[in-house]
């Protein structure tokens, strides 16, 4: 497979002090869905903005579809579609007018763009609302409209910045199926960012975990999970002052113990067989266990392993983020 995006030491420093993207290198193969997974402020949007030629990199280079983002920006622009993180559709115009405006920016003649707009509105199920002002659209409808706008020039590479941010679970699942359908129908390469783990797991062929402007880990979701190398046993004991980490780690096949209050996160090999051994060891020493769970590694674990944070710690701010996405002030 051909490499359609090639990024080499791409760096962006804001105001000479804040390094938002720090010597990032990776490549994306034609036809794959490539995901950037990272917490708020990790540098996902900044990376996208450089690749879509909206921001100038401080240093480093990148090519998209063989065009250099610095030397042949128009070549890049002609071959990509962009669905930004914010809702950028014009609220005072109708859905149809918005799509046609996007088409005009690509210089697509009206006869052609009308046809494509109909087709895309059909695809994202907005035909009925085509002549309604965007003001009256719900969040999910706006996302779908943005998606349609991003596809108007039949791009070879589609950039999706947090395509399901702030959507409810059902709408999110529906958006995933649009994205999958798009990929199959148009054989597009998709570069997406997200901070939802299930989304990355569900959609992406490969994932780069990015934090503080650096790629920490890059692999397929399965390989990432395997890299955890073992199962996760979570044990909660009654009293939290008595540290039993030592007891647990003496059990064979226990690889690592992390204590958080009275909860122990134990990485083990062959979880099903090791769990009873740990239980025995604890009970023999008079430790009361109140909760126990065994899980196969998920991206959650992967994420925790590499960034030291659970992604859930950040999801609380979602409602706020959704609101600022509507009317986002960029500084």
């Amino acid at each position: 497979m051909e490499e359609i995006i090639q990024v080499d030491n791409l760096t962006k420093v804001f105001n000479k002090s804040l390094t938002a993207v720090d010597h990032v290198s990776f490549s994306v193969k034609e036809g794959e869905i490539f995901g950037f997974l990272g917490p708020n402020g990790a540098g996902k949007t900044t990376t996208i903005n450089m690749l879509i030629t909206v921001l100038k990199p401080t240093s480093g280079t990148a090519t998209v579809c063989g065009h250099s983002i610095q030397k042949d920006a128009n070549g890049v622009r002609n071959s990509i579609g962009v669905v930004p993180q914010e809702y950028t559709a014009d609220e005072d115009l109708t859905g149809m007018e918005n799509i046609l405006l996007c088409a005009d920016l690509y210089g697509i003649p009206r006869s052609e763009s009308k046809k494509r707009a109909q087709e895309l509105l059909e695809l994202v199920e907005l035909t009925k609302f085509a002549d309604k002002r965007v003001q009256t659209y719900s969040g999910g409808m706006r996302r779908r409209l943005e998606l349609a706008c991003g596809l108007i020039n039949r791009p070879r590479v589609l950039f999706l910045d947090e395509p399901t941010l702030g959507l409810d679970v059902q709408t999110r699942a529906a958006t995933w199926s649009y994205i999958k359908r798009l990929k199959e129908q148009y054989n597009m390469t998709i570069f997406m960012t997200t901070h939802y783990l299930e989304e990355a797991d569900n959609l992406c062929d490969r994932i780069a975990i990015i934090d503080h402007g650096k790629i920490i880990k890059l692999d397929s979701p399965d390989a990432l999970k395997e890299s955890i190398d073992g199962d996760i046993l979570t044990v909660t004991t009654k009293e939290d002052d008595n540290d039993v980490s030592g007891l647990i780690s003496k059990v064979p096949k226990v690889k690592e113990v992390k204590k958080q209050n009275s909860t122990y996160r134990v990485k083990v090999e062959k979880g099903e067989e090791t769990a009873p051994l740990i239980l025995n060891a604890l009970m023999k020493n008079g430790v009361t266990i109140t909760k126990l769970s065994l899980s196969k590694p998920t991206l959650d674990e992967v994420y925790l392993e590499y960034t030291g944070k659970t992604i859930r710690e950040e999801e609380g701010t979602d409602m706020f983020r959704q609101r600022i996405t509507l009317r986002r002030a960029r500084h």
Binding site: N49, N74, N78, T88, D90, L93, E97, D104, G107, R330
Partner: protein, 282 residues
């Protein structure tokens, strides 16, 4: 079709689409038009009528012929209202041009600008579409103000023809082109509309008062006359006044007006395009 031909055509396509977007937002919201007309009309109604300068003479027992003579010597016409009504045309243009900078700040904040920047549309077209939409809006508003001024009693000159009207619009066009380019260039990097608002508030009245829009500049102190002489509004207003209400046209002065306005428009429109290549993306 050759590649170049195609590029030129699609450049115009995007330019027109962006202009049309701004205009659509404007004419779909008649309240905006109303708001921008109401201010000059209030000025004309209150200021133009209240400052009944002619009455100063009649109330002081100056013979009417001499009073009229004095008025013509000062304002070029017998009534102050006609004089200041033309000034209001400039007022409308200045305001519309100033606020056009604001719309690019909003486009940046709401992310539309980023989306436009990720498409192959020419950077210059993004800027010039803002300028053109400001020009179209302000010319339409100026047209409405002319009609309202006429209804309120503005006297056209006896030699007034459609050609004079076209000439007036040409002068206003050049003035607006330059001013809108200037204010959009100021806003090109800005993300804060508060800053933009401050610039507008700081500059609007000084720009009007250091021109001949409300008072003839040859009665101003020297330092103010100097400022007035580099203020493009002076030239736009003078051209409009000569063409609309003055009984005799000073041709050499009119040519000077157009030359200055043409140069002003050319310089700032070019500067706007060049800045857009360099500074539109960060």
């Amino acid at each position: 079709m050759t590649q170049e031909n195609h590029n030129a055509k699609s450049m115009f396509h995007g330019f027109w689409a962006l202009t049309n977007r701004d205009l659509k937002k404007w004419y779909k919201e008649p309240i905006l038009l109303f708001m921008s007309i109401i201010q000059p009309v209030l000025w004309m109604g209150l200021f133009g009528r209240a400052m009944n300068i002619g009455a100063i003479f009649t109330n002081n027992n100056v013979p009417p012929e001499i009073a009229n003579q004095l008025m013509i010597q000062t304002f070029g016409v017998g009534d102050y209202f006609s004089f200041m009504a033309v000034g209001m045309l400039s007022f409308v243009i200045v305001f519309t041009a100033m606020f056009s900078g604001m719309s690019i700040v909003w486009d940046r904040r709401l992310g539309f600008l980023n989306k436009a920047l990720s498409t192959p549309v020419a950077r210059g077209a993004i800027i010039m579409s803002k300028v053109l939409s400001a020009v179209v809006r302000s010319l339409i508003q100026a047209g409405i103000v002319i009609v309202l001024a006429w209804l309120l009693g503005m006297q056209f000159s006896s030699s007034f023809t459609v050609l004079h009207l076209l000439g007036t619009f040409a002068a206003l066009f050049l003035m607006c082109l330059g001013l809108a380019s200037l204010f959009i260039a100021i806003a090109i990097r800005s993300t804060r509309w508060e800053t933009q608002m401050a610039v507008v508030n700081l500059l609007n009245l000084p720009l009007i008062f250091t021109s001949n829009a409300l008072f003839p500049s040859n009665f101003m102190p020297d330092w103010l006359q100097t400022i007035s002489r580099i203020n493009p509004i002076t030239y736009g207003t003078d051209a409009a006044r000569q063409l609309l209400i003055l009984s005799t046209i000073d041709t050499s002065k009119l040519i000077m007006d157009f030359a200055f306005l043409g140069g002003f428009a050319l310089v700032f429109a070019t500067a706007g395009i060049i800045l857009s290549w360099k500074y539109l993306s960060k």
